[in-house]
Assembly symmetry: C2
């Protein structure tokens, strides 16, 4: 009887590390491989950054409250966000879809209208893909390419002690938007005659259904000659991403709960749902904001942008990754982001 190890025992990140532990690179042009937001390939003077994401119905999206156009847009946006996290400018995407005959051509047109809207908004070319039938469910696989000037890409591995920890936009709203959508779906299934109450939560729902990659932040950093020492995009929640940065950079960190950027509508939604807005910001995920570290000497230039918050600082590795609460107590940061295999 062969051994059987459950995937859940490793978790998503453990599984990737396990399966790629002996991965070698053979081509001199492969500058950065598995283990960051994207890979980097050298092309004689420019560098190509490449990333890919797989979206599966029932796991990553629920079509009962996700319009297909938004889904197409989001499938592109989350990949462009990974390119932003490398400081790359998006240039091309490929899109593969697996579809059952449950979908009509008109439904696919909706999906593609969202894909094209994102391509237009971010000046990206759709250059190829694959279309296949599926037995059930919708499968969307997007690969995105971007460009970066030689060796100007930013990995997860360069954070230095005393660096400032910065985050763009605000956090937690996408998760709270999802909770609102799930609540209204449940009410609808129990009482199909009731109208959903979504109007008071347009910000949170918008953050869930139509995330935007922060190409504007990349541009701001470049224009102001700010080179982050490390960067990652916030897809699984701030805590999980900070722990990635700390582990890859071999550092610790302190984050202040009262510095976390949280939108007023996210606070209101959290109150209504009896959830903590800070917990949503730390562990919610799907914000697709940029989390990065900069040298203290960049402080004056960073705060010129009101869309960037300084939320903490980098410490020695042995201090651990800590959350300093305004109330006093200090907690260890924990990755409570979405774990796909549990």
């Amino acid at each position: 009887m062969p051994e059987r190890t459950e995937i859940a025992s490793l978790g998503e990140f453990g599984l990737i590390e396990h399966l790629t532990r002996d991965n070698e690179t053979r081509n001199a042009g492969t500058l950065l491989s598995v283990g960051d937001d994207a890979a980097v390939i050298d092309h004689f003077g420019r560098q190509t950054v490449i990333t890919t994401d797989l979206l599966l119905e029932g796991i990553h999206f629920d079509l009962s409250y996700t319009p297909l156009k938004h889904l197409g847009y989001k499938a592109v946006a989350v990949n462009l966000s990974d390119l932003c996290a490398m400081m790359a400018v998006p240039t091309q995407i490929t899109v593969s879809i697996g579809i059952s005959n449950r979908f009509s051509v008109e439904a696919l047109e909706e999906l593609y209208s969202g894909i094209y809207a994102a391509c237009e908004r971010y000046q990206v070319d759709l250059i190829g893909g694959d279309t296949s039938s599926s037995l059930r469910g919708l499968v969307i696989s997007v690969t995105a390419l971007g460009e970066v000037a030689p060796d100007q890409f930013v990995t997860r591995a360069g954070a230095q002690v005393n660096d400032l920890i910065c985050v763009s936009g605000d956090l937690g709203a996408a998760y709270l938007g999802l909770q609102i959508l799930e609540r209204e779906k449940k009410i609808y299934l129990e009482h199909p005659d009731l109208q959903p109450e979504l109007e008071t939560h347009t910000y949170c729902i918008g953050r869930q259904l139509k995330p935007e990659p922060r190409t504007d932040i990349v541009k701001f950093l470049q224009e102001n000659s700010i080179v982050p020492t490390s960067m990652i995009d916030v897809s699984d929640g701030l805590s999980s991403e900070l722990l990635h940065l700390c582990r890859r950079s071999a550092v610790g960190c302190v984050v202040h709960d009262d510095k976390l950027p949280i939108h007023a509508e996210a606070r209101a939604a959290a109150d209504e749902l009896h959830l903590s807005a800070v917990t949503a910001a730390l562990s919610g995920g799907e914000d697709y904001e940029l989390l990065f570290t900069v040298a203290q000497s960049d402080y004056e230039r960073i705060i010129k942008n009101p869309g960037i918050a300084v939320v903490g600082y980098v410490t020695e590795a042995d201090k651990g990754a800590l959350l300093q609460t305004k109330a006093g107590p200090v907690h260890k940061l924990q990755a409570q982001g979405w774990n796909a295999f549990q």
Copy 2:
């Protein structure tokens, strides 16, 4: 009531054309976009070729007779075959997988051992990907990148009247191998105590389970300064691919049935299954051989390679795409390759 058009009414290729009919390119570096085996991006002196394929359990593979290691190998091989069809040299791949908890870590190790075996065999780097849970079934999405010297890529669109039509290797065996596997699965399900009869069909089964991209043919063509006027890889059957070449090149063609390269074991398997070996060669699919056209002046150089067969010639578009049988009658070539949506 919104209109509902069934996907089957367009077919796979019609659907792709429909969804990408208004697709624009915005980046000057995008040299070749949707509509060929792969896309081409300019990178200041070199050109990057990119292709992607989505493999879904129950549609593209049946795990009851496909070893996971072979599946991993094949998922890479079919993408590299698309790069070969552009005359590109494969360099990197990304691999995304969606897996249910039905799979153990050991099962995924098997899958990845096949992926790594293909990477090693073809000197390709695995540079990234995405790992996700799925509700059911295994999803594999591979994107492959390759390199080509400036403007040395070969599309489907350049075939000229009087060019020779060439095909590498042999055709039909992969399809016949699949029929053998399906037959033995059926027998097994009805009589679990019977041993499968696979030994006499190792060639055909090998062609189905472990296709090899023809990087050697690309190398031969390059070393002998033969530049095909058009090229495509044979994934859906020779007829379907020839019709693609003819349509994109605005030409017709004549193919001779007695010139089609068919392996002795494929003929034997066809006899045993009461199928036509010629039909399997024309419509079977999954051979992953290269189909290409060359100028007549390249004839002497082409026939130096015993692994390349000249099967016909290019004609004016108004002559159509024809099959000349040795017995006399002439038939119109028809794409009877796998149609995903019927």
